[in-house]
């Protein structure tokens, strides 16, 4: 599609995110939420939807919802109620999903995002409500009984976070989603795994000619399980809708499935009548009343949030914004860095090591920072020895790799391997003399003004010392000898 055609239209996006909460038990019964157990092993009369079974609300779900609401600048409703959303599907044993409709627990929040296109933007959050998940349908027909239903997931707690239609590009949608994702991970209320469906996104997408006040007809995209696919799905949908309008056709309001193999979306037919959910208050669940002291207490248990942490890293440690952003992407990573800064006073050096060697080894070994074999204490053991000139920075990297393998302290490794830096002037001088004597031609060129050769000589001396010579002293002695 040509840019000029595309530029005639404004894109409007609103997002609905389902956040699966990491509580021990389901939202309305005491069955475990453990992932990957054998089918239907975590079920009881409540989550099986047996007649007469009564749901009782998990208090932790409410606290997690309050946390999510506070972190996204929402009002926490002093009174909220649960509602039944009525529809039939084999993964929904009761014939209704318990959700919230009128009076959700959180309303009127926002997140501030920043993208290259429009800079800083405030994205409104209409509401956050609590609801139960459905079971899982397996379409294997090996057993010859049709489809199979596993209700382990039925009744696991979800938060649905509904945004205002405030985003104007797929970049803004991704920025919003990543920030929300980061927040629920920081709050430790969701494991954030998109592939396993712990953080699911539906996107409402429409286009309108610039200047038009009314929104265009929207399509709802479902079934997208990565940030990249969300971007692809939105991009495809925008072009599809513009082409329809340009051809004189109309966009139909419908649900469309994203197909990651083709990068396209396709219509889910025959669902138009299914949107009549006939919500009504669930008489089995009493109203939820939240007083200010409860909110205050929950607020007290919340960690510093990513945006605040980033700002503090910038001001306290004098780090560039881009560095602070990388360091605060994940809470555990940020806390690792902070633990280092308490042990070693040069925060920039800490940042370089955490973002460099620590990140590299985590990537290479495929482990999370929680399982890291090198603790902040151990890492700072290396940094201290570099700072006090016991070892050079280069040897420090070597010590780090050995530390990762052995989990031994920096001092133990330096001692064991004899890596202590040579700072004895006599010893270095001898090596310098040897190197100059072995390379008379280069020594001559250097004396005639080929300054570039300084690096060559430093390299040779460092090699002769197996990296242990103090580089500053080597430089100094080389200058003295070669210039004399």
């Amino acid at each position: 599609m040509s840019d000029t055609l595309r530029d005639k239209y404004e894109v409007v996006i609103g997002l609905e995110v389902h956040v699966q909460l990491t509580t021990q038990t389901k939202i309305f019964c005491g069955c475990s939420t453990e992932y990957g157990s054998s089918p239907n092993s975590h079920t009881c009369p409540v989550c099986l939807g047996l007649p007469g079974a009564l749901p009782v609300l998990n208090r932790q779900v409410v606290e997690n919802a309050i946390k999510a609401g506070l972190a996204t600048n929402c009002n926490i409703a002093p009174r909220s109620i649960f509602a039944r959303k009525n529809y039939f599907y084999p993964d929904l044993p009761k014939g209704y999903q318990i959700s919230q409709f009128e009076l959700p627990i959180c309303e009127h929040g926002y997140l501030d995002i920043e993208t290259e296109g429009r800079g800083k933007q405030r994205i409104g959050i209409t509401r956050i409500h609590m609801e139960e998940d459905a079971g899982k349908l397996l379409h294997s027909d090996e057993a010859g009984v049709g489809s199979l239903v596993d209700l382990n997931r039925a009744c696991t707690p979800l938060l649905e976070v509904v945004s205002e239609p405030d985003m104007r590009s797929s970049d803004e949608a991704i920025a919003y989603l990543k920030q929300l994702h980061q927040i629920v991970r920081y709050l430790d209320i969701c494991n954030g795994n998109l592939e396993e469906g712990s953080f699911r996104c539906d996107a409402n997408v429409s286009v309108r000619p610039y200047g038009q006040k009314e929104f265009g007809t929207r399509a709802e995209l479902k079934n997208i399980n990565s940030f990249r696919f969300i971007k692809e799905g939105i991009e495809y949908e925008v072009e599809r809708q513009i082409e329809l309008i340009e051809d004189g056709d109309k966009v139909v309001q419908e649900t469309r499935l994203f197909d990651s193999d083709s990068g396209t979306t396709r219509s889910m037919r025959g669902k138009e009548e299914a949107h009549d959910y006939r919500y009504f208050p669930d008489p089995d669940l009493v109203p939820l009343v939240i007083k200010d002291d409860w909110i205050t207490q929950v607020r007290g248990t919340m960690p510093e949030l990513p945006q605040e942490k980033m700002q503090r890293f910038i001001s306290d440690f004098e780090l560039p914004g881009s560095v602070a952003e990388v360091l605060t992407a994940e809470r555990n990573f940020a806390e690792y860095f902070e633990a280092c800064t308490r042990l070693h006073k040069d925060a920039r050096t800490c940042a370089n090591w955490v973002m460099g060697d620590i990140q590299r080894m985590l990537n290479e070994s495929g482990i999370d920072i929680e399982q890291i074999p090198v603790t902040p204490q151990m890492l700072c053991g290396i940094l201290e020895r570099i700072a006090d000139n016991t070892i050079s920075g280069k040897i420090g990297k070597q010590v780090f790799d050995l530390m990762w393998e052995s989990s031994k302290s920096a001092d133990a490794i330096i001692e064991e391997r004899g890596l202590k830096q040579v700072t004895d002037t006599g010893a270095i001088e001898a090596m310098v003399d040897e190197v100059i004597a072995a390379n008379p031609a280069q020594a001559q060129e250097f004396r005639e003004g080929k300054d570039k050769l300084q690096g060559f000589f430093v390299g040779q001396v460092m090699k002769a010392s197996r990296g242990k010579a103090n580089p500053a002293m080597v430089n100094e002695l080389l200058c003295k000898k070669l210039r004399s």
Binding site: T23, Q24, T25, C29, G30, C31, S32, S38, P39, N40, S41, H42, T43, C44, P45, L48, V56, L57, N58, R59, Q60, V61, V62, I81, N86, F88, Y89, P90, L137, L138, H139, D141, A143, G144, V145, G146, S147, L148, V149, D150, L151, M268, E273, D276, R278, P281, P283, L285, V286, P287, L288, V289
Partner: protein, 97 residues
């Protein structure tokens, strides 16, 4: 003569409930539902000015349970009433997406 609810609305509600009726049954139900709605509509005669909408008949609030695992009933009991089951799952007619 029905004036609270139309035949189409009755058919729509029946479809949502996955119920199938003959035209004669739809006629009969339309008449009956119309009478029911007329009966309930008498409530509108009450003056509810200043009365907050009621969602629950009891005055209880905040019934919670702690986030602690209790015993599930086990897959055998869970599937005991199922007309069809296989591999520890409930069997249902094939669902095509």
């Amino acid at each position: 003569m029905a004036d609270k609810i139309t035949r189409e609305e009755v058919e729509h509600v029946a479809r949502l409930a996955r119920l199938e009726f003959s035209p004669a049954e739809v006629d009969a139900l339309t008449g009956q539902m119309d009478t029911i709605l007329a009966h309930v509509e008498q409530l509108n005669e009450l003056d509810t000015e200043g009365v907050e909408p009621t969602s629950h008949a009891v005055t209880l609030e905040n019934a919670f349970r702690p986030d602690a695992v209790t015993h599930s009933i086990g897959v055998d009991k869970a599937l005991k009433n199922a007309p069809l089951h296989a591999d520890g799952c409930f069997g249902v007619p094939k669902v095509i997406e």
